[in-house]
């Protein structure tokens, strides 16, 4: 299927002409295959690499919340005596890194298109920033009056719930079942974690939540290849 030079245009379309740029493909099945191939080609270029979109976040959740679990375990247990500031600092730095990676990967693809899709992506991106700011402001009002473990659960549980909701919304916007399932999965394991309580919540979010994102990235990548 290499592009060839322009051949003189044939007057009546038919399937028995020799293959060239002006001539039709040899048969309908081949034409359909050609259509599918070109659609897949451009589709790939217009989809950000799922590994870059999911894996940095999955890694951040896995490592960050594991540190929380080890330092702030169930019933106040300390499995590994890390400095108390380390888990939050690690999680924050990993989130910033993931945000930069995703922003660059998504932005690069988004710029390939001009039109309503740009606006849509921008609005979705802003939804994340604004919603997380709003939740932070709300939680900050309460964390000082709650015991440390409950305050931690409020922050982590609330933010994970918000992530799940935004992923489900993203799935609805882009008709992306993979993304919707990830959001639903994240929401469910978050509910379980919150009900089981502080400490366990970190472990569940690290393994099932972070793991879910790693799997989502893998599935998305395998589908695109």
């Amino acid at each position: 299927m290499t592009p060839t030079e322009d051949a003189p245009s044939s007057d009546s379309p038919s399937f028995d002409a020799p293959s060239s740029a002006e001539a039709p493909p040899v048969d309908p099945a081949e034409s359909l295959a050609l259509i599918a191939r070109e659609r897949a080609n451009l589709g790939r270029e217009l989809t950000p690499d799922p590994r870059l979109m999911y894996w940095p976040w999955g890694f951040a959740w896995l490592v960050g919340f594991t540190l929380f679990f080890l330092r702030f375990g169930p019933d106040g247990r300390v499995f590994v005596d890390l400095p108390a500031w380390l888990p939050l600092l690690t999680l924050t730095l990993l989130f910033i890194t993931a945000g930069i990676v995703t922003g660059i990967a998504g932005g690069r693809v988004s710029r390939r298109i001009t039109g309503p899709s740009n606006r849509q992506s921008l609005m979705y991106g802003l939804s994340w920033s604004i919603a997380f700011t709003a939740f932070s402001v709300v939680f900050a009002q309460f964390s000082s009056v709650l015991p440390e473990a409950q305050a931690g659960l409020l922050w982590a549980g609330g933010m994970v719930a918000l992530t799940g909701a935004l992923h489900m919304a993203g799935g609805a916007i882009w008709d992306d079942r993979n993304l919707f399932l990830l959001g639903a999965w994240t929401s469910v394991i978050n509910i379980v974690g919150v009900l089981v309580g502080p400490g366990w919540h970190s472990l569940i979010v690290a393994v099932a939540g972070g793991g879910g994102m790693l799997v989502a990235g893998l599935i998305g990548w395998l589908r695109l290849r």
Binding site: P3, S12, P13, E22, A23, P28, L32, L34, P116
Partner: protein, 108 residues
């Protein structure tokens, strides 16, 4: 394409029946309505020469299937391409006709 008894090859749209133009329209059909793609990006995806792609785009434009707009991204001029509603309909009809050719018994 309302007559779906015996859809013969003569019913196939001659504008996109040419392989190169079918490839162009197929790629553009991935874009959502009103989204545009830059000429070099489309060229890269189709692996065509710039001259070759220009020729086919002009024919598609003449048929009203694509819209080519010249604009500026900052200081650099950019050529953007989109599939028109008419082009999308033609593409949908064409693929439906191909499927009907493959499976004359099945619905169009």
């Amino acid at each position: 394409m309302t007559d779906h008894s015996e859809p013969g090859v003569t019913e196939l749209d001659p504008v996109i029946h040419a392989q190169a133009r079918l490839r162009v329209v197929s790629a553009l059909s991935v874009l959502r309505d009103d989204d545009r793609i830059s000429f070099p990006r489309l060229q890269e995806s189709l692996r065509m020469t710039a001259g070759n792609l220009s020729v086919h785009l002009r024919k598609l434009e003449d048929a009203g299937y694509v819209e080519v707009t010249k604009t500026h991204h900052g200081r650099t001029p950019a050529t953007l391409v989109r599939l028109t509603r008419r082009g999308r309909l033609a593409f949908d009809d064409y693929t439906a006709a191909l499927r009907a050719l493959l499976d004359p018994q099945g619905g169009s």
